[in-house]
């Protein structure tokens, strides 16, 4: 079984950029993509901010090759996956066994919402064609066809940790020599379903979110898609461009505390981080930067913060939540943050935690407030925490 997996390509589309260079520019310049809702037809326009991708479905259709009537989620996925694939150049190597592991929580819910509105008053109504996107697996399959990938096409759905688990599963397939390369990550478009769902949980911020701030009020939802291309060591050597980094550790655990809340002691995130370090043969002091899950909710930031304090005190790495830029992109979030983490390692950079005014009093660490260069950055950790207690942690390392 191979020991290390490399990141050979990256693709992303979020509310701060339609591709990786645009996202990176926004991160460097401290420009958030959170704004009032413009694209989603919802009654909450004007009262709830979100971080939408700044493109209409028509524009996304042109970029993705899907019809404008297709699911927005499929379009986002296709755009990011194609960017990642092209970036990696793995298609230039003949005979590679390539897979696609995508994560999503909503599937084609944007189209299902339209169908159900017609179906409810009259069960003979509603366009059945809108439902071909409904299943999570269908979105993945449609995008795989666009990428000309037929084998080892899988969909993972574990709420907000989905993409992290997709990346782990992809790494596992390579390590077991089932595949040579895997495009792994996730996608979630903003939908009325999720916007109203989180609103009913009373964890949305009516202002721009402030992760890890003492006076934080909740999260802002975002949307997007992001993928990394994972390759084996053998393939990494064959590629013309050196990989971004390697993935040296990962861990998936379950907090098993409550359906929607993390344990106050932060057990889930603590075990995930510890497990990832153990796999990589690393110590907490080896981590130079943590990309926090940092949604901005009372519960998450307390719980995750407690886990970090338990593991790293008194020597904390730099930390920040990039959800202050992109909002919480749910099933795509770990994929987005994996791309940001890979870039952080490749370029030796650390991102700020925007809008931090008052650090949390219960902790002695303070997230980064500015963008900075960190030439000696060797290991970046990326955390994800989801409904159902699913907690995951990934470690990206300099080659």
């Amino acid at each position: 079984m191979g020991a290390i997996v490399f990141v050979a390509g990256a693709g992303a589309i979020t509310g701060i950029g339609n591709n990786v260079p645009e996202c990176l520019a926004a991160l460097t310049e401290g420009k958030t993509g959170i704004d009032s809702i413009k694209y989603l037809p919802t009654n909450h326009r004007g009262s709830l901010p979100a971080c939408e991708v700044k493109l209409s479905n028509g524009e996304l259709a042109a970029m993705s090759g899907f019809l404008p009537s297709a699911s927005r989620n499929a379009m986002l996925s296709a755009v990011a996956a194609k960017e990642a694939l092209d970036d990696s150049d793995i298609k230039s190597i003949p005979g590679l066994r390539i897979g696609f592991v995508s994560a999503t929580t909503v599937g084609g819910m944007d189209k299902t919402e339209k169908f159900v509105a017609d179906f409810l008053p009259d069960h003979t109504k509603g366009r059945l064609r809108d439902l071909i996107y409904h299943e999570c697996g269908n979105i993945t399959a449609m995008v795989a066809e666009k990428l000309c990938i037929k084998s080892y096409v899988s969909t993972i759905s574990t709420a907000c940790s989905s993409s992290a688990n997709a990346i782990m599963y992809g790494a596992r397939l390579i390590k077991h020599n089932v595949l040579d390369a895997v495009i792994a990550g996730g996608t979630d478009a903003l939908t009325k379903f999720t916007l109203n769902g989180f609103n009913t949980l009373m964890i949305l911020d009516e202002q721009y979110c402030q992760p890890f701030d003492e006076n934080r009020r909740g999260l802002n939802l975002g949307e997007g898609a992001a993928y990394v291309v994972l390759v084996s060591e053998r393939v990494a050597f064959l590629l013309k461009t050196p990989p971004y980094c390697s993935i040296t550790g990962y861990c998936n655990v379950n907090d098993a505390y409550h359906q929607t809340a993390s344990s106050p002691e932060g057990n889930g995130p603590y075990w995930a981080m510890t497990g990832a370090l153990e796999m990589g043969g690393l110590q907490p002091s080896d981590i130079g930067y943590i990309n926090l899950h940092g949604t901005g909710t009372q519960n998450n930031d307390s719980s995750e913060g407690m886990a970090i304090q338990r593991l790293f005190h008194p020597n904390y790495p730099k930390l920040s939540s990039t959800k202050s830029f992109t909002g919480h992109t749910l099933g795509a979030s770990a994929g987005v943050e994996a791309v940001f983490s890979a870039l952080a390692i490749k370029r030796g950079i650390v991102y700020p935690n925007l809008r931090l005014q008052t650090p949390m009093e219960e902790f002695s660490f303070v997230p980064e407030t500015g963008f900075s260069k960190y030439p000696g950055l060797k290991h970046v950790m990326s955390n994800s925490v989801g409904f159902g207690g699913n907690c995951s942690s990934l470690i990206f390392s300099k080659i």
Binding site: T124, E135, T155, F193, N196, A256, F387, N390
Partner: protein, 355 residues
């Protein structure tokens, strides 16, 4: 390192849960809709804990807990679930509320329980399992993905390890209406008992929740082992399908004649079932074969039912009289190959063998 099946539990449209006899009598349905025979959940999960659970979650939790009990395991090292449709009931409830109440105010429980990982998460919560937890939602390959993930997970462990895997999907009134409108089912409802006697378009709807406790450690208590699993997608024609199957077998240094029993996913749809007939002629001429979807109906994770059935066939070394089968069965059933396709899109192969 092999992947053994230590125990299994199955809630299905047949009397398969906590019954001493393996497939004694067929439960008959006449309306294109095979719904699960459900136990009294209060006997398995405390009422305080199960009150919020939807039907699919109760079925999954009951099946999972029973599977663990049979294996004598309180907490496995991983829980991996596969579901194509996810939690349809709660998704439907939240969507209905959303539209009828024009986006306010709405039941948070339905939203929280609509995520695909709810079954796996609830099981973890019930048994306080803090280990690896994953959910696949890969359409007709969802259950097969759980098996592959589990097999790789077990192979990585140097010591004894166990993984609880399950495949589950449910029918709701809305989903049945919609899939019926899409033309999936028989225009004139037939009895599931005579599903394979009709030669017409359409199948019957089904559902189920089947769980397996897999382990990397040999034991006389193991029921069978999973030799290999694979999936392939939209093969161009029967030749490509046959090639995939031959390739799969040769990777295990086997050929078709090494298979003692073929479990086929015929669903009663004349066009879709042609594939199985052609494959039998081309590859499995001499091999005994059984079908199973007359018992559980058609749904994306039906291979979980098939694997439950294959496991029991191997363990009892017998084929229940009520199973529709062809060909002469060998005295010792060592190798059972499950071949299924879901709408000719997702094709899968699971090879289950005697220990």
């Amino acid at each position: 390192m092999k992947t053994y099946i230590r125990s299994t539990a199955n809630i299905s449209p047949q009397a398969t849960f906590n019954t001493p006899m393996f497939l004694g009598e067929v439960t008959e349905y006449h309306d294109n809709r095979l719904t699960c025979i459900e136990p009294d959940y209060n006997e398995i999960i405390s009422p305080k804990l199960n009150r919020r659970m939807s039907r699919l979650i109760k079925m999954s939790a009951a099946s999972a807990l029973t599977c663990l009990k049979k294996a004598g395991i309180t907490s496995p090292d991983a829980i991996i679930t596969g579901t194509a449709y996810g939690c349809l009931e709660d998704t439907g409830t939240f969507l209905t509320n959303l539209i009828e109440q024009n986006e306010e105010p709405l039941s948070p429980t339905a939203f929280v329980q609509s995520t695909h990982n709810t079954a796996g998460a609830q099981i973890a919560l019930l048994i306080k399992c803090n280990y690896y937890n994953n959910t696949f939602a890969s359409g007709g390959a969802s259950f097969e993905n759980t098996l592959l993930d589990a097999m790789m997970f077990l192979a990585e462990k140097k010591q004894t390890a166990n993984v609880l895997v399950g495949g589950m999907d449910e029918i709701t009134d809305a989903s049945h209406t919609i899939l019926s409108r899409a033309g999936l089912y028989k225009r004139n409802p037939v009895s599931n008992v005579s599903l394979f006697n009709t030669s017409s378009k359409g199948t019957v709807n089904g559902e189920g929740a089947a769980f397996f406790l897999l382990t990397n450690t040999p034991s006389e208590n193991n029921l069978a082992y999973i030799e290999a699993v694979t999936t392939f997608y939209k093969p161009a024609d029967i030749a490509e399908t046959a090639e995939q199957i031959e390739c799969f077998l040769s990777e295990q240094s086997l050929n078709a004649s090494d298979i003692d029993l073929l479990v086929m996913g015929n669903n009663g749809d004349a066009k879709q079932d042609k594939i199985y007939t052609q494959l039998q002629q081309v590859l499995f001429d001499e091999v005994a074969a059984v079908k199973y979807k007359n018992l559980c109906g058609e749904y994306p994770t039906s291979t979980a039912f098939a694997m439950w059935m294959a496991t029991n066939i191997i363990n009892t070394n017998s084929i229940p009289a009520m199973l529709y089968h062809s060909g002469n069965v060998n005295e010792k059933i060592n190798r059972v190959l499950i071949y299924n396709h879901y709408q000719n899109i997702y094709h899968s192969l699971i090879l289950v063998s005697a220990c």
